[in-house]
Symmetry: C2
Subunit: 302 residues, 2 copies
């Protein structure tokens, strides 16, 4: 390995199913994203740490990285770099930043996947220029990144958990609660509920969207439920935070024609004097978290 | 009048029923609060402006004030000092700061009554030391002041309108919506719903609280509904913003023994992995807005 600062800045987004990673070029732009399957992990996170270390070493091409940014799901304390809780990865209080910095011998920034994605959308995507904006990926789960007065709001890692606020239905949620937005409106919930209603398995919410376009009544009913619940959730966001713009991402965001306008209409019907946000499609797709990880890493060497 | 800077700093809190005002002493502490009935007002706000001008002149004792802080309800743009919308005062787009500065010949700061109250509770009350805290006065209406990362969050005046987020009931609200938190859980709603259920008029929520303590079933039912709705509203706040502390004020806050612990319990029952806030009583009572107005004015002369 060469001396500190000689190598590249590496960005890593650890997801429940895949680890995405890339290298930041001199211009600050992220390279093509490299994808690896996420290993199953125990509560100490060792297997995932091994995988992240191997990916970073490979992308750094033998040089010691100048800095590494790693973003992960769950409850993450950005300030201390501790992964407090990540259901999908089996993590509890893993001091990710310190462990990785020791293994890699370079400065490491640790952040939250959705907040990092929100940061990326704010710097270089759909939230550009917004003082108050929300990045809302609707995928396997639902969480929001809150940009308030131009800064990402974290609340020690607990902010933005709109996926687990009740929207008044009675379905159980993986979190142990009932009525959660995520349980009826996530891309995964839409696919699952369509399969449960019809006995026909679908690969994901995109298949349900195709069925909605063809007028399939069961698909329309499931989609309507999801949009109504999302509008309810957005009415909470609007009443409390009044963002000027909400950028929808994730699997459901890929079917923008069936989401953006219907959602804006349903939200407007729920408001009286409040200021409705513009509802737009997120722009960075599933690279958002990785771009955000790169931004966090870049701050370490700026 | 004497020259600019010679006179006192005057703080004014314009409410729907009374105008509270006071003078800041050399130590920065507010004098005893002076109370005057709020005059009925047209959409240009002239009658209220006349009243505010007269009160300030009286409290300044003939001197030109060094600065004046005025806080008002409704939608207020703190940055421009415009009262965008105030249902109770009949105001629409009144350029309050500029009008008062011209009348009084001194710098004027205009703010929102609840956000100013939150600022005061943060500087000198129940939210002292909290990085992320919420001031939640539950009175005639319900609105929240959000202190996020140590700063008051305003969103151009639209933030904190938790009173008009649906908590899933079917009662109409003064805002024109249905299901609003305010329509079932404000101090006014509690008194109104008790009267409607029993045919017995009560002066306010404190009377209902007394009846709850004596086991009156109708009072208990109305109080339970209010607490359930407040817990629902707080679960939204907790999921989205994860404040470390929520300070309950207003009329309902005066019955702290029947509010704080029951509310914490009901909120906990609605959460799974989220971080519950401490729920405490606000400390500044109905002086909070006026103290906040004084803080805003003081910033003009600091």
């Amino acid at each position: 390995m060469t001396g500190s600062g000689a190598g590249p800045v590496v960005a890593v987004d650890v997801g429940g199913t895949s680890i995405k990673a890339g290298v930041l070029g001199a211009s600050g732009r992220l390279s093509d994203v490299d994808r690896t399957a996420t290993p199953a992990a125990g509560s100490d996170g060792a297997a995932v740490l091994d995988a992240v270390e191997a990916i970073v070493r490979r992308l750094a091409g033998g040089a010691r990285p100048a800095a590494v940014g790693v973003v992960v799901p769950g409850i993450v304390d950005d300030a201390t770099g501790v992964a407090v809780h990540a259901e999908n990865l089996g993590w509890a209080d893993v001091p990710l930043r310190d462990l990785l910095a020791k293994r890699l011998g370079c400065p490491v920034a640790v952040g939250h996947d959705v907040r990092a994605g929100g940061l990326a959308e704010h710097r270089a995507g759909a939230l550009r220029g917004a003082s108050d904006g929300v990045f809302l990926p609707v995928g396997t789960g639902i969480a929001a990144a809150l940009i308030l007065d131009g800064r990402v709001y974290a609340a020690d890692g607990y902010a933005g958990e709109i996926g687990h606020v009740s929207v008044g239905h009675d379905l159980p949620c993986a979190c142990g609660g009932r009525g959660c937005l995520e349980a009826i409106a996530s891309a995964a919930a839409v696919a699952r509920r369509y399969a449960a209603a019809t006995g026909t398995t679908v690969a994901g919410s995109r298949d349900v969207a195709d069925l909605v376009r063809r007028g399939d009544p069961a698909a329309v009913a499931v989609w309507d439920d999801a949009l109504d619940a999302l509008a309810y959730g957005l009415s909470m966001l609007t009443g409390l935070l009044a963002p000027s713009v909400v950028a929808i991402g994730g699997g459901l965001g890929e079917s923008a024609d069936l989401v953006l306008r219907p959602l804006a209409g349903r939200l407007a019907a729920r408001l009286t004097f409040q200021r409705p946000p513009r509802i737009v499609a997120a722009e960075l797709g599933d690279r958002a978290g990785c771009v955000g990880a790169g931004l966090l890493a870049r701050e370490l060497v700026a």
